[in-house]
């Protein structure tokens, strides 16, 4: 399975954020998407998840059994950097609702509590309203969405920063566990997180995606080189 991006362009007014992103993301790998503030990481994710309509270009999902098809919202699990969830529901109700509507997609039949246990949301918090959840808890709820629906492509927009060390470790373990069945793209500013978790590093700079040589990941001067590359970019903010 491959996620194929071809010449994705997106501008806001006169500002050209994505200048033609072309890249092939492969199944079984966690990709770290690195870029400076305002480089367009979230814009790229929004274009892929159909939240924004790109000005040009396309995104396709290639499967061996089906061939190449246009990427659809069903293929995407998107964890937003600022979690957005309906405040009027409890965590338990939201997960029940989400499981109901994804019943057909879910390959395994776990209980609601199983999922809560997975991300360590305490039983007493499960029936509290999402309105009162902390940022970290809301983020865990978003994680649960893709763990339930298990879409082929998972986009994570700087999610681990809000987790405490125990949960962050748990989520990392989970991501590694499920990566064989998915294409996981993970945007972050934190280089250490990227090197620690990701199999490949992709840099979004000057509106274009660029893969970093895999060997570079294990070199001592990796950080210095990445910073040097990003410095070349004109800051957008």
């Amino acid at each position: 399975m491959e996620l194929r991006l071809r010449g994705i362009k997106k501008s806001f007014g006169e500002k050209e954020v994505l200048k033609g992103c072309t890249f092939d993301f492969q199944q079984g790998k966690i990709y770290g998407l690195l870029g400076r503030n305002g480089a367009g990481k979230t814009t790229l994710f929004n274009c892929l998840s159909d939240e924004l309509i790109p000005d040009e270009g396309r995104a396709d999902l290639y499967r061996e059994e089906n061939g190449e098809n246009e990427l659809s919202t069903d293929d995407i699990g998107y964890v937003f950097s600022t979690p957005i969830l309906p405040d009027f529901m409890t965590g338990y109700e939201f997960i029940k609702f989400y499981m109901d509507i994804n019943q057909r997609k879910s390959k395994v039949n776990h209980s609601i509590d199983y999922y809560f246990d997975l991300v360590k949301i305490a039983p007493e918090d499960r029936k509290r309203l999402i309105k009162g959840y902390s940022h970290g808890m809301k983020n865990k709820m978003q994680m649960l969405c893709f763990l339930i629906a298990r879409p082929p492509v998972i986009l994570l927009d700087e999610p681990l920063t809000s987790f405490d060390v125990v949960v962050a470790l748990e989520i990392k373990r989970l991501l590694r566990e499920i990566k064989h069945e998915h294409i996981i793209i993970f945007s972050t500013h934190i280089l250490q997180l990227a090197t620690d978790l990701c199999d490949e590093i992709v840099i979004l700079h000057d509106g274009i995606l660029e893969k970093i040589d895999h060997q570079l990941l294990y070199k001592e001067d990796f950080e210095a080189k990445i910073i040097e590359m990003l410095k070349d970019e004109k800051p957008n903010e």
Binding site: G13, E14, K15, S49, D50, E51, S72, T73, D74, I76, Y78, F80, I84, L85, P86, D87, F88, M89, T90, E93, K96, F97, D100, I101, N102, K127, L129, K131, C145, A149
Partner: protein, 540 residues
């Protein structure tokens, strides 16, 4: 202080000019012509820094004049029109109202020392300006223009009502003194009790009721409180000059605790609501959820466990939004009951006229069109749906899928139609009840058609608002209406209903016309929703 005033003016100018460019850029069509670089264009900003304050100043003069016309001019015109004998001269009448509105309600209802504005937030929280120096400078910045803006309006008022220049100047001076007394009282009270009077809704409610009552009721009851005599009496003048002068001294130099207290008075929760009001987003508060709405105990009676997916989600939504969605239905039912009781009273007082009215009730179809437009609750329901539910869920791909959108639409249409049909049905029942009391036969063709019109209109206005919501999704993140077509179509519907109300058409043809157009509108709107909502129902 001069330096602080200069700094505040500078920040204000930058803020106002940037805000002006920002909103200008958001104007339909014209806004697109303004490039992003406008913010960086020094010449444009220099020109705007002259134009924007000039516009502001001229609107302020105008606003004060409007205020005087609205609160003093209109009651005076009404009294002249209805030939109401006033117990005083016209100028005294104006002074009486002005005193209670501007020297009583005004100083206690508004405090520039405690008022939270964006500039105050910027200066004190971000720029860490000295709170005492800021407050001193702000008092000058606020009150010098305030007094200047009022003067022309007061002079015109005196000219039209037969007052002298001296009296106007005294009134003007008293306004300043009472304003200062009000500010001093608020500062003193906050120091002692940590309560800001002008933010206390109960105190303000009582104050407004008393103020308005004293301003308007006594004179129409032929009671003269002799306010102008008192206000222009030398002893009283001396009294308020001394008190006003001392208050001014107290708030400017006498009070020493601004540094500690002002920052504390800038309550974040209050600030947010103030900012929202400022930016005309007070509509938020009408649909915002409160903690009590989320009480789980309210779920005990519902059959939630049997529901699944979108039916389950919507059921939860409706249960937790009773205050916004169900309570208005109860208010309307109470209103219908009240109307019925008025009808009953009408029959008791004048049975002949009541019977005649009941016999001709089928002629009120045109009025019913307008009434039903006003009485349906869907508009607010759409706002609540957007702000409390769709705004977050629409970010998820699964929620934007055509099937999901239409499934939600169907559930909501049925539910809100039910709310509006209950109101429509109660109106029909009230009419039947009134006819029964008058012993008029209501099983006539005309009456049955009227009932059908009422019930269909209940559905029509539900469909109308939901159709506009789903096809145009007009709300921005701030609940402002962004879509011009939404505004046009909504306005058009209002105008049509208003025309129905104004024209005195009646009879079978008109009723049939309403019936047919209602059915057609519902059918077309539903087709359009099914055709376009999946594409356009997004967060803009």
């Amino acid at each position: 202080m001069n330096k602080t005033i200069k700094n505040i003016f500078h920040i204000k100018a930058v803020h106002d000019v940037n805000t002006f460019i920002y909103y200008f850029k958001r104007l339909w069509l014209i806004g697109k012509c303004i490039p992003d670089t406008a913010y960086a264009n020094d010449t444009v900003k220099l020109v705007l820094s002259i134009i924007v304050p000039a516009l502001k100043i001229s609107t302020q003069f105008f606003r004060k004049a409007i205020y005087l016309f609205f609160f003093i001019g209109i009651p005076l015109l009404i009294s002249l029109d209805k030939s109401i004998q006033l117990p005083m001269e016209r100028f005294d009448f104006a002074v009486h109202i002005f005193f209670f509105m501007s020297c009583f309600i005004g100083p206690l209802g508004e405090s520039h020392v405690f008022k939270v504005e964006q500039i105050k937030l910027i200066c004190l929280k971000y720029f860490r300006m000295d709170a005492k120096k800021y407050t001193q400078a702000n008092i000058i910045i606020q009150y010098v223009p305030f007094m200047i803006y009022f003067l022309p309006g007061l002079l015109v008022m005196a000219l039209l009502t037969g007052g002298s220049i001296l009296h106007v100047l005294l009134l003007w001076l008293s306004l300043f003194c009472f304003r200062m007394m009000g500010e001093a009282l608020q500062v003193w009270f906050y120091e002692k009790k940590s309560i800001i009077l002008s933010r206390n809704n109960i105190i303000m409610g009582i104050l407004i009721v008393i103020g308005v009552f004293l301003a308007y009721i006594p004179m129409f009851l032929n009671i003269n409180l002799r306010i102008s005599e008192l206000l222009f009496h030398p002893v009283i003048i001396l009294f308020y000059l001394i008190l006003g002068g001392y208050s001014f001294y107290y708030i400017m130099w006498g009070y020493s605790n601004y540094r500690k207290k002002i920052i504390r008075s800038m309550d974040t929760k209050f600030m947010t609501s103030e900012m929202l009001k400022k930016s005309k987003k007070s509509v938020f508060t009408t649909v915002e959820m409160k903690e009590e709405d989320l009480d789980h105990s309210k779920l005990s009676n519902s059959n939630l466990q049997n529901l699944k997916g979108y039916a389950y989600m919507n059921q939860l939504f409706f249960i937790r939004h009773r205050r916004q969605l169900v309570r208005p239905v109860f208010y309307r039912l109470a209103f219908v009951l009240l109307a019925f009781l008025v009808g009953l009273g009408f029959y008791i007082i004048n049975p002949t006229l009541a019977i005649r009215f009941s016999e001709r009730m089928d002629r009120i179809v045109p009025t019913m069109v307008f009434l039903m437009y006003g009485i349906t609750t869907t508009d607010k329901a759409c706002k609540a749906m957007f702000y409390n539910c769709d705004i977050s869920l629409l970010r998820y791909g699964f929620y934007r899928k055509p099937r999901a959108i239409l499934s939600n639409f169907r559930i909501r249409l049925l539910r809100i139609s039910l709310h509006n049909l209950i109101v429509g049905f109660s109106i029909c029942l009230a009419m039947i009840g009134f006819c029964e009391i008058c012993q008029t036969n209501w099983m006539t063709r005309g009456m049955l058609m009227l009932f059908l019109v009422i019930l269909l209109l209940s559905v029509l206005f539900t469909v109308h608002h939901l159709f506009l919501y789903y096809v145009f999704q007009p709300y921005s993140l701030g609940l402002e209406v962004k879509n011009p077509f939404f505004k046009i179509l909504n306005g058009l519907m209002y105008v049509i209903c208003y025309i129905c109300f104004m024209i005195e058409a009646s009879g079978v043809v008109f009723t049939l016309g309403v019936l047919i157009s209602t059915i057609l509108y519902i059918a077309i709107a539903l087709i359009l929703v099914y055709r376009f909502a999946p594409k356009y129902f997004r967060v803009k």
